[in-house]
């Protein structure tokens, strides 16, 4: 499944979702308008690793998104940009993926990583609106994916959303 998580002010992800309608069946993709949802920042409490493994103690609108991420093939973050990077709303969504990893560690290639909780892990992509630093966002997206033993599927400005769709 392809999961589109849109936090943009103008709901820019909707045009991607409607373009996907022609290519995919309803079960193959899902669009989430996350800008309107109540999603807290990560509190950094580590409870999801040590006290309530796999579960976030913050009970807001995030858990259904997390569940969907854990069964998705691709997660696309559609985001506004600040300081060349993603908005805080998108960063909050990224920070709270921690329950998908466990406290346990292993070496993967040259670096240590947390062992993921589920067998399936998504690939990651970013579509950004505004003055994004594409080079930085590409590195950032690649690095997010590495934490899930996966890879980035690409980073695109909203003007090139058709290119992003080719990667889905």
């Amino acid at each position: 499944m392809i999961l589109l998580i849109d936090t943009t002010e103008k709901k820019n992800g909707k045009q991607i979702a409607s373009a996907l309608k022609n290519q995919f069946s309803q079960t193959e993709y899902e669009y989430i308008d996350a800008g309107e949802l109540n999603i807290s920042h990560c509190l950094g409490c580590n409870y999801c690793w040590l006290k309530t493994p796999g579960e976030c103690v913050v009970k807001d609108d995030y858990e259904p998104i997390l569940k969907k991420m854990s069964v998705s093939d691709q997660v696309w973050l559609i985001t506004d940009t600040v300081f060349g990077s993603v908005s805080y709303k998108t960063k909050n969504i990224i920070d709270r993926v921690m329950p998908l990893a466990t406290m346990n560690l292993h070496m993967v290639g040259k670096q240590m990583r947390h062992i993921t909780r589920y067998d399936k892990n998504p690939k990651w992509g970013i579509v950004y609106c505004g003055e994004g630093d594409r080079e930085y966002l590409s590195l950032f997206c690649e690095r997010i994916a590495i934490n899930f033993a996966e890879r980035s599927v690409g980073v695109f400005p909203i003007e090139e959303y058709e290119e992003a769709i080719k990667c889905m």
């Binding site: 950094g44 805080y88 240590m112």
Partner: protein, 215 residues
Amino acid sequence: MHVVIINGSPRVEKYSNTEKIIDAFAEGLAKAGATFERYAISDRKNWDMARESYTQNAEIIFALPLYVENIPGLLLEFFETLPIKDNNTRVSFILQGGFAEASQLECGKKFLEKLPKYLNVSYGGTLIKGDNFCIRVVSKEDVLKITGPYQEMGKSFVENNGFKAEIVKKFAGPDYLPVPMRIMIQVIFKTIARKKFETYSKEWGAKVPIDYRPW
């Protein structure tokens, strides 16, 4: 030198590893003759005071933990509320993380290097260091062993007028661990570390194993 230190960790101060790192760093600042004031943004009630201090002062250090390759969402939100200043203000960063290798902090560091331009201030460098996860779970004496080296960095910040590249590099440690150590660590991760994490988890009151799948 008068330094404003802002703790950008979302974790409450009492349990914040970054707060303990600042304790040691600030001690070093004082030893070198600098004065400082401290704020923490984990409680939104402090935001106005921290922002006011950022506005009024010229030497600012943000200390922060790495959250998924970049700065925590809460700190990003705080940054969005800062006023545009001029390059008489200098902003520096202390970026800390859990993983041991310096390379794990590179992506976050790259973001912080560019941030001062967006805030229209000058840049005083970013001190990076990993391997700080245990601050949360070890005894008070062991915490001081981990944070101790930051005291020297506080002194160095005053004496060298900012975080200088060669000092940052040395403090950060190796980008990657040498191969024999990687092999040894892999074994430790599968045995001792696993047991230790299970012990912490039980102490914290967990009723299920660490790799439990709620769905």
